[in-house]
């Protein structure tokens, strides 16, 4: 849902001279299939073990009762992500300027709350 919503704004983002990139712990082949299925017009980068998410301070490990529940539901993260860590990134949307400085962050511990892409676009305009 979130990537679809961002995809809808890709022309405007590119029009502003910016790049849109997603980072996910999923294996590259899963990202590829997903990208094709959703016809996403931006790259998804594979972040094994959430090592980069960790550098950005947003990696967290799921508690054991939750990992047991996910396994029961067929959400087999070790299989999708190719590692046993049961870690995930907190949903986060960052804007980084051309000098490599973080200019905007939208990070939430509640994964059911996602940055509104139109808000991200508005924030991007202030960064240019």
């Amino acid at each position: 849902m979130e990537l679809d919503a961002l995809n809808a704004l890709i022309d405007e983002i590119s029009g502003l001279g910016a790049t849109l990139v997603a980072v996910s712990p999923q294996a590259a082949d899963i990202n590829k299939a997903f990208r094709e299925e959703k016809k996403l017009r931006f790259d998804i980068l594979s972040d094994p073990g959430n090592a980069v998410a960790h550098q950005y301070g947003i990696r967290h490990r799921l508690p054991d009762d939750l990992t047991a529940l996910y396994t029961k539901f067929g959400i087999n993260l070790p299989e999708f992500n190719g590692d046993d860590s049961w870690t995930l990134p907190m949903p986060a949307c960052l804007i980084i300027d051309a000098a490599g400085v973080v200019r905007h962050t939208d990070i939430n511990a509640d994964y059911t709350i996602r940055p509104e892409p139109t808000d991200t676009l508005a924030a991007l305009k202030t960064v240019l």
């Binding site: 990139v21 790259d43 949307c93 511990a109 991200t120």
Partner: protein, 82 residues
């Protein structure tokens, strides 16, 4: 519909399908994370974005500096398709 409206509709549907016990586990995990202080410790505005090189879905290595060569970047961290 905004993204949040779509997500709220999905969440409403989800809540009707998932057993109460499971919802408790999920809710507790989210609460724990919110109380852990991780959000406050995460990267802040004004910091230098840590360098990285990761493979895209075609197997090509993409570096942060390469991606920033032509302008700013919107970087979104995505949990997964599930």
């Amino acid at each position: 519909m905004t993204l949040q409206e779509k997500m709220d509709a999905y969440k409403k549907d989800f809540l009707t399908k998932v057993p109460k016990e499971a919802l408790k586990v999920i809710h507790r995990a989210t609460e724990q994370l919110a109380n852990s202080g991780l959000v406050e410790q995460a990267i802040q505005v004004g910091s230098a974005a840590p360098q990285f090189t990761l493979k895209n879905s075609s197997g090509e290595a993409q570096s942060l500096s390469g991606l920033l060569a032509n302008g700013p970047m919107v970087l979104t961290f995505y949990r997964g398709k599930w």
